[in-house]
């Protein structure tokens, strides 16, 4: 155990010394009973996280717990030579199943095609290891996945040595096989049973040094690519649960409205194919033999609805409340001038193409749920509470998600499906139709931002950011899955804002506050959370400040960036992006920069805004320093997607609220970016200034949003302040 911890000093630097102490301590007694013993460490760790910076690095904060529970993770080798890792983190499109499989293949010396990554069922004892979010997965799994794989390899080698009567040190491994010096070889599968009896490996059970990696760091296509392009990939509603009945829910015209009366239940129950019509807290469920029959019956339902809690509010009211909720800006002194900005961002639905859905089979004293969940133990808790069963009576099978962007942190559909199944006594498969998902699905909170630079001459004295946002729903916080309650994690939107929002420039005294406006609207974490609007708005302010100071926006960022790594990213972006190149009239370049998730990223966007009502981002260039990149092909895909998020949220897509209801109802009016809005050229360049692995999933969103907004502003000579611009 000491050996393993020592080795970590050479191969892992994530989270520093606290974590190493932790690993040694816990692997010695890897059961949940240990949890009480490490509570004392939590406070010290939280303080460490807070000493040098006001922000909390969430991945680092969660790391000790993920390490602590890693012995409970299940990696097994089967007799048919498969390496099977029950993945605690959820695949929703971000490519983590491929990247984690790469870590495992690397250290067990298997062919990547021999590694399987089924999702682990909900296991509350895995704590933070089953929280897929905050771009933590590759950072959190870097150590545990490699250690599990290296340990398994050592046991396989030991078993082979015993079988052949050879010195274990003389054996080598590659391609899911063990090789002897005399040329003999055998598959891992043939050693699987013997290896399980190896108590003490005869060779080092430690991960190999990064310098020996042959797979990790290499652009690698998705391990599930073939399933995904042949229609064989299984999403929630593709799971064949015998007898599960198609179900839709009639929902109120306003957000959070209530059922007053079902006027024609008997008539609808008599319709062809209808099995049941039942009232649930969120509406009226219609259960039928097919989704066609269910939707037909839903359309025939006549329900009297009570108004929802914000039925008297529309966008202008909400914007007014947000504007009134921001703290006042400091007045300049006599010698100071100001650069001010105010920004509004609309609500934005996550809009995954797979709408909310779940399958539930609730029996008298147990339940099973199939759902794409980024935090399966929370789905388990919420379902158990909702149907009055103990948590351990509910089995949650996490299924591949058809997009999340934050949505699949929330088990809304699982809870509804379980309630309906309980009421009718049969398993159900619940579909939120697209209009359900747009009108009642969770959204990024609308926000208002007031910002001010105070200058004395050309010297920036201070930067203030006084923001307000509709309250982020933290009734069930994603962090409630974390076992170690002494880890200081955000418990509200405002505390999440303060934990994550940093301005990566030397702007003198920097002050920021977020006030939350309580409103009964279903809000959610949304890819990059507050950074997607708050940091994007700050980057627009950086351009305005540069303009006031008659500086080039790229040069100005390079001059003002708060550290050398950031400067290097910006310099590379300037040269690789060909900043300042000649462009046609009506076109312009824009830049955005962001630091988060232990990484720096710059985005350059070129826009054709010849027609300001139909601008097109033609080209984007990303330069990123996220340290060691496990799968550059996967990271690049994340950045490409984030660029689309930036284009959509700045130019195209949001949600209006009128009289307490979301106005949009489909992709026809929630106009997410399509091919015709996507850049024709995209480049991503990876720098590695030696930092530890950073998070890729959300990093590019604020940089891309800012680059698009700044390019639009420069192309049109306007100061856009309400987003999306064409709304």
């Amino acid at each position: 155990m000491t050996e393993r911890a020592t080795a970590d000093k050479h191969t892992d630097t994530n989270a520093g010394t606290t974590r190493r102490r932790f690993v040694t301590f816990l692997i010695a007694a890897p059961t949940l009973t240990v949890a009480g013993r490490w509570l004392g460490e939590g406070t010290a760790r939280a303080q460490i996280a807070n000493v040098s910076t006001p922000e909390v690095d969430l991945a680092a904060a969660l790391q000790p717990e993920v390490d602590a529970v890693s012995p409970l993770m299940r990696l097994r080798v089967t007799e048919d030579n498969r390496v099977v890792f029950e993945a605690p983190r959820a695949e929703v499109g971000q490519g983590i199943s491929t990247a984690v499989a790469m870590l495992i293949a690397e250290d067990i010396d298997a062919r990547l095609v021999d590694v399987d990554m089924p999702h682990s069922n909900a296991r509350p004892e895995l704590g933070a290891a089953q929280l897929t979010g905050a771009s933590t997965t590759m950072r959190n799994m870097w150590g545990p996945a490699r250690r599990l794989a290296a340990d398994a390899r050592a046991r396989l080698v030991t078993a082979a040595a015993e079988r052949w009567g050879l010195n274990a040190d003389s054996l080598t491994t590659r391609d899911t096989h063990v090789f002897a010096p005399d040329g003999r070889s055998t598959s891992y599968g043939s050693l699987a049973v013997d290896a399980s009896k190896v108590a003490v490996p005869a060779v080092s059970p430690l991960p190999k040094p990064v310098s020996e990696h042959t797979l990790v760091g290499t652009p690698t296509p998705r391990i599930d690519g073939k399933e995904l392009i042949t229609g064989r990939a299984t999403y929630t509603l593709d799971v064949d649960v015998p007898g599960a009945l198609p179900t839709v829910v009639a929902r109120p015209p306003t957000i959070g409205g209530t059922v007053t009366a079902i006027d024609n239940a008997a008539q609808v129950r008599a319709m062809p194919g209808v099995v049941a019509v039942v009232e649930i807290p969120t509406g009226v469920a219609v259960v039928a033999t097919t989704f066609h029959h269910a939707q037909q019956a839903r359309a025939a339902l006549s329900v009297s609805w009570g108004p929802g809690p914000i039925a008297d509010l529309s966008d202008a009211d909400i914007r007014g409340r947000l504007q009134n909720a921001t703290d006042p800006l400091l007045a300049p002194s006599l010698l100071q001038s100001t650069v001010d900005g105010e920004f509004d961002f609309a609500f934005v639905n996550h809009g995954p193409v797979e709408t909310n859905c779940a399958i539930a089979d609730v029996r008298a004293d147990s339940a099973e749920v199939w759902v794409a969940s980024k935090i399966p133990p929370i789905a388990q808790t919420v379902v158990a509470t909702g149907i009055g069963l103990p948590q351990n009576a509910v089995t949650v099978h996490p299924i591949r998600g058809g997009g999340s962007f934050g949505r699949k942190l929330y088990p809304d559909a699982a809870l509804e499906a379980a309630r309906i199944s309980q009421r009718i006594g049969d398993p159900v498969k619940l579909l939120w139709t697209r209009d359900d998902d747009v009108k009642h699905g969770r959204m990024r909170p609308a926000s208002h931002h007031k910002m001010r630079f105070l200058l004395t001459g050309d010297i920036v004295d201070s930067f203030e950011n006084r923001s307000a946002a509709v309250q982020l729903d933290m009734d069930v916080t994603p962090f409630s899955v974390v076992i170690d309650t002494s880890i200081e994690l955000p418990t509200s939107g405002a505390s999440f804002y303060h934990a994550t929002q940093a301005t990566p420039y030397k702007f003198g005294t920097t002050t920021k506050t977020l006030n939350e406006v309580q409103l009964d609207v279903p809000t959610a974490f949304w890819r990059s959370v507050y950074s997607g609007h708050n940091r994007a708005a700050e980057e627009i302010m950086v351009d305005r400040l540069a303009s006031r100071l008659r500086k080039d926006p790229m040069r100005f960022r390079i001059d003002m960036a708060s550290n050398a790594d950031a400067v290097e990213v910006l310099r590379q972006l300037k040269s690789r992006g060909n900043w300042g190149r000649s462009l046609p009239s009506g076109w312009a370049q824009g830049v955005g920069f962001h630091t988060e998730y232990n990484a720096h990223i710059g985005c350059l966007a070129e826009i054709d805004a010849t027609n300001p009502d139909a601008p097109r981002v033609m080209r984007t260039v990303i330069v990123v320093d996220m340290g060691l990149v496990v799968n550059p092909a996967g990271a690049e895909a994340q950045f490409q997607g984030s660029v689309i998020d930036g284009i959509a949220t700045i130019l195209l897509a949001g949600n209006h609220i009128t009289n307490g209801a979301v106005v949009e109802s489909s992709y026809a009016d929630f106009t997410w970016a399509k091919q015709a809005s996507s850049p024709l050229e995209f480049e991503a360049h990876f720098l590695n200034t030696g930092r530890e692995t950073g998070g890729a999933g959300e990093l590019a969103v604020p940089a891309a949003a800012a680059a698009v907004a700044n390019a639009y502003a420069r192309a049109t000579g306007t100061f856009p302040s309400q987003f999306p611009i064409n709304f």
Partner: protein, 150 residues
């Protein structure tokens, strides 16, 4: 309830369904063919895109009555046995999918396009209106161009 004969992915099938039942739910709920995905039900997201007699359709808005005695190809029927269709092969080589949910529709739309347009321009590709919320459009564009060359 009427009975309809169809040729789905090369096989004869016969289904009893109401005439107005969208093909999507016939495929998914009656035939267990789940490659075509529900994303909107109004032909806007195009995640269910498949082929009817070789032409692109959105099964969520095509009633079964319009499919009688016709050939339906879903994503499951695009490959020739174990040999991937050139569009699928290009998708694999360009590592297009992220969540993958829209990709059956993207692939089927592309396969239909390439039947009539062997060398689509960027403008032709822009006209593909399938939504990909993950934003795989750059790789889709590359894959379409690669498939066109195959």
């Amino acid at each position: 309830m009427p009975t309809y004969k169809l040729f789905v992915n090369g096989e004869h099938v016969s289904v009893d369904a109401p005439a107005d039942m969208p093909l999507l739910w016939v495929l998914r709920d009656l035939l267990g063919i789940t490659g075509p995905k529900y994303g909107c039900g109004i032909g806007a997201c195009r995640a269910c895109t498949s082929h009817l007699n070789g032409k692109e359709i959105q099964p969520c808005v095509v009633p079964i009555a319009d499919c009688a005695n016709k050939h339906i190809t879903t994503i499951e029927g695009l490959a020739d046995g174990e040999t991937l269709h050139p569009v699928q092969q290009a998708w694999l080589e360009e590592d297009v999918p992220q969540c993958g949910f829209c990709q059956p529709g993207q692939i089927m739309a592309t396969a239909a396009l390439l039947k009539t347009n062997k060398n689509p321009s960027d403008a032709d590709i822009d006209a593909i209106a399938n939504v990909c919320r993950c934003g795989t459009y750059c790789r889709i564009r590359k894959a379409i161009k690669k498939a066109a060359q195959a």
